[in-house]
C-alpha cells in the first residue's frame, strides 16, 4: 500500500490527503489546481454530498476535466447553479460556507500565505499574481486547508508578504475581535499533514510510505515529531484518481 502511495505524483498525493479534510454534506470554496482536484476526489469517494463553490459564482460544480480558470467551461459543465461572485463571497462572509482550500508560493509557521511578491513589495525580485480571492477566503472561511508541494523553498520562517493571513495564537485575538473565520487548520504537503497549534504548524502525521524525517525535511520551524500513525489512503480514493489523468503517477 505505502509503495503504491509513494509512486503517485506529488499532486495526486496532496489531493488525496487534502480530500480527507472535506466532509460529506459540507460546502467548500475552492480555487484552481490542487484545491479543485482534492475537492473532486472527495466528491467521488467519501463525500458525494460535497458542494464545490468557485469564486466565478458556480455552485455545485464537478468539473469533468481540470479547469484553468474558475470561469472555465468545465467548471460550469453539469453544475446546477451559476450565481455571481458577490453571491458566493457574500455567502462566505455570512458564514454559510464550511471550508476553504488554498495554495500559495510561500507558507510560514503561522500559516500566512504569500502569492504577491518575492522580495520587498516596492522592489520585488519576483512579482506574482496577487491575492485573487485568497485573502478573502483566508479571512472568512470558518476552516481553511492549505495545500503545498513538499518544496523547502516554499516553507519559510516568515513570508515576504502576508497576502492571506494565518491563524493560531498569533491571530486568535484579531480574528475573534473582527469576527473572522478560524483560519488555517491543516497544512497538507505531498508527504504529511500538519495541524495548526498555538505556536504554529505542527506535524500531525506523515503520509504512509514517508518517514517523519522526510515529512520534516526543509521545514525551518520546530514542528514537533508528530504523534499520529502514518496516514493510509483508502483504495477507493486511489481508484478515484483514474477520473483525473492529469494526476497520474509521476
Amino acid at each position: 500500500m505505502s509503495d503504491r502511495v509513494r509512486a503517485l505524483s506529488e499532486e495526486a498525493r496532496i489531493a488525496l490527503l487534502a480530500a480527507r479534510e472535506l466532509g460529506d454534506g459540507e460546502t467548500c470554496f475552492v480555487g484552481i489546481g490542487i484545491p479543485s482536484d482534492a475537492a473532486c476526489i472527495a466528491r467521488h469517494t467519501h463525500a458525494p454530498g460535497l458542494t464545490l463553490i468557485f469564486e466565478s459564482g458556480v455552485i455545485g460544480a464537478d468539473p469533468p476535466t481540470p479547469p484553468l480558470s474558475t470561469g472555465s467551461p468545465s467548471v460550469v459543465e453539469g453544475a446546477p447553479m451559476i450565481a455571481d461572485g458577490l453571491s458566493v463571497f457574500g455567502a462566505l462572509q455570512a458564514g454559510r460556507i464550511d471550508v476553504g482550500l488554498l495554495s500559495a508560493a510561500q507558507v510560514d509557521r503561522a500559516g500566512n500565505l504569500n502569492s504577491t511578491v518575492i522580495g520587498p513589495y516596492d522592489a520585488p525580485r519576483l512579482r506574482m499574481v496577487g491575492s485573487g480571492g485568497a485573502h478573502d477566503i483566508a479571512c472568512l472561511a470558518p476552516r481553511l486547508v492549505v495545500v503545498m508541494p513538499h518544496d523547502p523553498r516554499r516553507f519559510v520562517e516568515r513570508v515576504d508578504f502576508v497576502t492571506s493571513p494565518g491563524g493560531g495564537g498569533a491571530y486568535a485575538a484579531d480574528r475573534a475581535r473582527l469576527k473572522l473565520g478560524h483560519g488555517p487548520v491543516a497544512l497538507i504537503t505531498s508527504r504529511a499533514r500538519f495541524a495548526m497549534g498555538r505556536e504554529g504548524w505542527e506535524l500531525d502525521a506523515p503520509l504512509a510510505g514517508f518517514s517523519r524525517e522526510e515529512a520534516l525535511a526543509g521545514i525551518p520551524w520546530p514542528a514537533g515529531t508528530g504523534g499520529g500513525d502514518a496516514i493510509a489512503i483508502e483504495d477507493d480514493a486511489i481508484a478515484a484518481l483514474a477520473r483525473y489523468p492529469h494526476l497520474a503517477a509521476a
Binding site: E55, S69, V76, V129, G133, A138, V162, L178
Partner: protein, 299 residues
C-alpha cells in the same frame, strides 16, 4: 442614453467615441466573455494612459500593459489563470513602469457594487489583517453604528467606461449575457459608459422572448458592435469553448519582451479587420472550439 435609439456601431467607432486617453476602464469577463476584440481595438487606436480595473484579470491585462497603454492597474488577481504569472506585468512591476493598486477579488466586487448602488463604500470584514490592506490605497475602517463591529469601508470605484462582451443584444443595446458572469454585470453597471460587443445582434422581439437573460438595459449602453468571436481566446457559452492552448502559447511567448512585441504586432496591430484575426486563429481550431462545447447545443 436612450432606450430605443439605434446604438449599433463598428467596433472602431464604438471605441473611438467612448474610450479616451487617461480613462479608468472596467474590463469585463471572468474567465468567460473576456472582451479581447474590444480591448485590442483600444490598443490599435493607441489610446493610452489608461487605468484598467477588474477583480480577477485575464491575459488581456498583460497584453494591454505590454502594449504600453496602461498607466495604472487596479485589480484583485493579475496573471494567466491556471498557468502562472503575467510576464509583461512582472517586468513592469520590476521596472516600475506601471502604477499598482491591488485589492482582492471580493473587495473589487464590493467596489463595483458600491458604485452600482450609488453609495460611497460597502462595509466588509476583509482587509483588516495581513499585508494586503497596504496595497489597497486609501483604505479606511469604521465602527458599525449598530453593532460596534470593526469593518473596512471598501470604497466605490466608478469607471469612466466599461468594455463588455456578451452573447447577444438588440440594436438599442439590451444586452443578453448568460453563463458565468463573475462580476461583469456589476462592473458594467458601476461604469459611466458601457461599450458592448456581441456575438450577434438580434431583434428586440427575440430579446423579449427571454427577458430574464437581459442583464444590461439599453438605457445604460452607449454603443453596441457585432463582433463574432470577440471573446477569443476566452469563450462564449453557447458559441465556442475556451482556447486553453492559446493561453499556454501566450505563457511561452510573453516570457520575452521582444517576442511579445512581435506577437502583439501580429495578433493585435496586424489584425485590424476581424477576418484577419479569425484567419490567424484558423478554421480548424475554430471548428474544434465550436465542437468543444461538450454536448451543449450551439445556440
Amino acid at each position: 442614453m436612450s432606450a430605443s435609439r439605434d446604438k449599433r456601431a463598428s467596433l472602431a467607432e464604438a471605441i473611438a467615441g467612448n474610450v479616451h486617453d487617461g480613462d479608468t476602464v472596467f474590463i469585463g469577463g471572468f474567465g468567460h466573455l473576456v472582451p479581447f476584440a474590444a480591448a485590442h481595438e483600444v490598443l490599435r487606436q493607441r489610446i493610452g494612459g489608461l487605468a484598467i480595473a477588474r477583480s480577477g484579470t485575464d491575459i488581456l491585462f498583460d497584453q494591454m500593459i505590454a502594449a504600453g497603454a496602461v498607466a495604472r492597474v487596479i485589480f484583485g488577481y493579475l496573471g494567466n489563470p491556471g498557468i502562472g504569472l503575467a510576464h509583461a506585468f512582472r517586468r513592469a512591476a520590476r521596472d516600475g513602469t506601471v502604477e499598482i493598486e491591488e485589492w482582492t477579488n471580493f473587495s473589487m466586487m464590493l467596489r463595483f457594487h458600491a458604485a452600482r448602488m450609488g453609495v460611497p463604500f460597502m462595509p466588509s470584514r476583509i482587509l483588516q489583517i495581513g499585508d494586503q490592506p497596504s496595497g489597497a490605497r486609501g483604505l479606511k475602517t469604521l465602527t458599525c453604528p449598530y453593532t460596534g463591529d470593526e469593518l473596512s469601508a471598501i470604497p466605490a470605484l466608478v469607471p469612466d467606461v466599461a468594455l463588455v462582451h456578451a452573447q447577444q443584444a438588440d440594436a438599442a443595446g439590451n444586452v443578453q449575457l448568460w453563463g458565468v458572469d463573475g462580476d461583469t454585470v456589476e462592473g458594467a453597471l458601476a461604469s459611466r459608459r458601457i461599450v458592448v460587443t456581441v456575438e450577434r445582434i438580434v431583434t428586440t422581439t427575440e430579446i423579449a422572448r427571454s427577458p430574464e437573460r437581459t442583464r444590461i438595459p439599453a438605457d445604460r449602453v452607449s454603443a453596441v458592435a457585432e463582433v463574432p468571436w470577440g471573446a477569443h481566446p476566452s469563450y462564449a457559452a453557447g458559441f465556442y469553448s475556451r482556447d486553453d492552448d492559446h493561453y499556454r502559447a501566450y505563457d511561452q511567448v510573453s516570457r520575452d519582451a521582444g517576442e511579445l512585441a512581435a506577437w502583439l504586432e501580429r495578433w493585435v496591430h496586424g489584425a485590424g479587420c476581424r477576418d484577419a484575426y479569425l484567419e490567424l486563429v484558423g478554421a480548424e481550431r475554430r471548428a474544434a472550439l465550436e465542437a468543444g462545447l461538450q454536448g451543449r447545443t450551439r445556440e
